[in-house]
Amino acid sequence: MSTLDKIRVGIIGAGKRGIMHASLVNMNPRAEWKAICVSNEQSHAFLHNFYPDIPFFLDIGEMLETVILDTIFICTPDNTHLSMATEVNKKGMNIFVEKPLAESLVSSKKMVDLISSGKNVYSIGYYSSFKGIFQKAKALLNNDIFNRTKRYRASLYYTLPQSSRSIDTIIRERASSFFYLVKWLFGPVKNLYAKASDRIGSAKSGVSLILDHPSGVMGLADLSWSRPGYPLSTVKITVEATEGTLEISDDTLKIYLYKKKGKFERGWTIIDRTDLPSPSRFFLCEEGYYEGNSTFIDSCSNKKKSPITWEDGLEIARMLEAADLSIDSNRVVFLSEVQ
């Protein structure tokens, strides 16, 4: 592939995610990291040592005017996404934003309104659907191994560092990832009921939810960020179906079937994540990141819609808003109410 064919990438934000995306782009033969916009001179001075050939900018407009780019990764706090996406979109570029789409439902809707008529690619950083273990779980659920899914019980546990100052941002980010995984596995949510001492972002311990899907599937979810011993976000989902159960965790799938089905015997079958193929050629941070990043680059190269879109991000924003409304009003909230 010649240099001219490569997707030319600019990064906005030099935090952990900004550096990660820049690195992943650099290891992708179909893309090239061309510029970065940082928030202050200090970051510039520090990072320039490691990336001496990359032009650094303090102003997005200047970066967009100075460097020829096709694609921008926005890796800044969610309350900046709308203004940055608006500026970048005027230049007609592909845009990837880190999750959640924006800081509120109103801003998320404005983000989706920016989408032009199919010319560019818009995606968002939900990575769980790129993890082999969750992909296998979805395939099993879709392939009727268990026949009809009846209900699921899901949990997300995480221990917030005691020194955390940006609790709201961290919790919203973790909760939005969890909601995306639930939506991806079981389809959209029709209505939900949420109970907590406070709204999601500021709830000190966690949130319990009942989720009702149009497919008839019912979910119970327990989200906690105050349980000790969970330095990594830990997901567990138990699915009950008419012909068996499926336990999904970050590392294993435990299948129980009431009778033999296809290659699966009656009783337990355990699939470890290392039993599944790992297609990524580069590993950075965690499984799923390289795949998410390179899938977006592929979509840009082929001018195809990304498998994860800003519309998905808007749906997750609706779920967050509905959960907050339910907590405030102590009633079931339909997602159609929070349009």
Partner: protein, 291 residues
């Protein structure tokens, strides 16, 4: 003068609460090894079995255990820097630079004195525009905790090596190895999760130092592929230290160790999560690799 790397090295992932089998295992390790006595017991068992190299970061539990370990002066420490798990966790809210600055400021007065440096100037030096000064300062901050111990090698953490690799900036590796060799007078090493990308790049740049990378029968975190890593390993004249030998706990030592016995491996790192595992795994590794 660089020392030879021992054939078998005790790893410390479990002591830091890092588990690759499951999140439940991670929680167990965090809880179990929060008691420094449990780390010290494994260090003693390992030492009594003749394993005299220990690879670890400056995790506070591990340093407390090392302090109590009676044979510490005879133990060869391979220091893994930086303590990437702590950095990753804190940088979620402080950012990469913010975390580094905050870590530097946390160094207590005692260690600042022991460093024998004008520490405040060093903190400012982190934002220097000079890569040598910056990396020297970062190394000094990380290595300050290891001052009382017999450090024979410094290993750049895999996450950091892989970030540096993706920057395609030869100077980072060059400066790193020079600082470690000239300032600390020990062996510089690199850990990686991407052996198949790192080794060819180092060969192209003519930079040679030992590489620690995943090698296991399951191909767990062998990137870009198990086959490519095995091919490069067979042809390599680099010293290779195998890690994740038990595929994050998915293989028994009996299943895992024969895979490495005919490979071009210089050393292997074995982590253990209990005393019984220490006796079992390390004894078997000794009989496979030291006889």
């Amino acid at each position: 003068m660089m020392e030879k790397i021992d054939r078998i090295i005790l790893g410390s992932n479990a002591f830091e609460g890092v588990g690759y089998l499951s999140r439940a295992q991670t929680r167990h390790y965090l809880e179990f090894f929060s008691k420094k006595e449990n780390i010290t017991a494994i260090l003693e068992a390992s030492f009594n079995l003749g394993i005299k190299s220990f690879m670890c970061s400056n995790n506070s539990n591990i340093l407390s255990a090392l302090k109590d370990f009676k044979n510490k002066s005879d133990l060869s420490i391979l220091a893994v820097i930086p303590n990437a798990y702590e950095y990753a966790r804190e940088s979620t809210e402080k950012g990469v630079l913010g975390t580094i600055l905050s870590k530097a400021k946390e160094i207590d007065l005692y260690r600042k004195v022991r460093m024998g440096l004008r520490a405040i100037q060093k903190i400012q030096g982190i934002i220097s525009k000079d890569l040598i000064t910056l990396l020297t300062n970062l190394l000094d901050f990380e290595m300050a905790s290891f001052h009382p111990y017999n450090v024979t090698g410094i290993i750049l953490h895999g996450q950091v090596t892989d970030l540096a690799l993706s920057s395609n900036n030869r100077e980072i590796f060059d400066v790193y190895q020079k600082i470690v060799r000239e300032r600390y007078k020990v062996q510089p090493m690199l850990a990686t999760h991407n052996f198949g990308s790192l080794l060819p790049k180092l060969m192209e740049w003519k930079i040679k130092m030992p590489i620690m990378a995943s090698f296991n029968k399951k191909g767990f975190i062998m990137k870009p592929s198990k086959e490519e890593c095995e091919r490069l390993l067979a042809e390599s004249d680099y010293t290779i230290i195998a890690k994740k030998v038990l595929a994050g706990g998915r293989l028994t030592p009996e299943e895992a160790l024969p895979y490495l016995s005919d490979k071009n491996i210089g050393s292997l790192v074995l982590g253990v999560g209990s005393l019984s595992e220490a006796y079992h795994t390390l004894s078997l590794a000794k009989s496979t690799f030291l006889t």
